[in-house]
Symmetry: C2
Subunit: 203 residues, 2 copies
């Protein structure tokens, strides 16, 4: 059986990457979520093992020391990370695993698992991104500018990714990401030797 693909999707907030990921889960039955682990307290309605794996700081740090994360970060006083084992288990079952993470996380994943497929979702333009954020409402001018500055910083990482998709039209962007996933599964790898052998055995 073929190993699944580890798919990493990043992009500035407002590019619609969440919506794209949701569509991928609908359209491909063998793509599974990765559940993150965190040391912050559960919020109302959050379910352990589904929203997050909730754990103690001491356990998280033990796992860091044992190289147990594909990526992790400390945000203020809390850790957030992607535990390695459940991801590797799913990949070896032949499932694809989708991680929607930021650029720092993606760079860590690439180092930990070089076969990962990194896809960057770009807005059609910064102006358009600005409009989308404004239309969501509830942003002060100051926080809007901060968001755009962060977006530009993230965009400078796009050249570290394998693929870049411009989300101008959502359906088109979804189709493009799906094409990437299909194509990645058709790449000739070591597995082809087995395939060639299977023909040979017929003779």
């Amino acid at each position: 059986m073929t190993t699944g693909k580890l798919l990493v999707i990043s992009g500035p907030s407002g590019t619609g990457k969440g919506t794209i990921c949701k569509k991928l889960f609908e359209d491909f039955e063998n793509i599974v979520f990765s559940v993150s682990m965190t040391t912050r307290n559960p919020r109302e309605g959050e379910i352990h093992g589904q929203s997050y794996y909730f754990t103690e700081k001491s356990n998280f740090e033990k796992m860091i020391s044992e190289d147990g994360f594909l990526e992790y970060a400390k945000v203020f006083d809390n850790y957030y990370g992607t535990p390695k084992k459940p991801v590797i288990d799913q990949l070896s079952k032949g499932n694809d695993v989708l991680l929607e993470i930021d650029v720092q996380g993606a760079m860590q994943v690439r180092d930990a698992y070089p076969e990962a497929v990194l896809i960057f979702i770009l807005p059609p333009s910064l102006k358009e991104l600005k409009n989308r954020i404004i239309n969501r409402g509830s942003e002060s001018e100051e926080s809007l500018n901060k968001r755009l500055g962060e977006a530009m910083h993230e965009i400078t990482y796009a050249d570290k990714y394998d693929y870049a998709v411009i989300n101008d039209d959502l359906d088109e962007a979804v189709k493009q990401v799906e094409s990437i996933i299909v194509a990645e599964h058709l790449k000739v790898t070591q597995n082809i030797a087995k395939v060639i052998d299977s023909y040979r055995k017929e003779i």
Copy 2:
């Protein structure tokens, strides 16, 4: 403007690669044919510059000496080849160029133009390939066995290709090849630097 992709499609005869290529031309408007050059005489109805570029042996050999072919072969007393210049011209216009050639030709193209995207079309099995050849009719048992031997020889080259597509269901195979083409255009290349710059200029 982005450079087009040089797409090379190979596979044993009977795998349906001709039908797949025809569908690609229908579905993608910026894929163009490459017209081969030959020293054999035109047959009735063949048009110079469309069926083939017909030329003299001395001219063909001069072009070989000037590295003017992406690939060429001598079959009995006649040369057949893909002239380099018209292909490169189309690629720099941003068009994709599709070459449906055999494995020897494909290996030459890969050496001459390493950015080429090599796609191998496989039959679901040798047994199925045999059935397809029989259903086409007009094959003696001897020629059938020769054809299958050639097919097996070609299949051993599949591991030199970038992608392998099994043509079990034609529509599915076409969709897969189209996904490869779409994905190849989304790969992050040197061009991304210009894209990132375009966002920067908006600030």
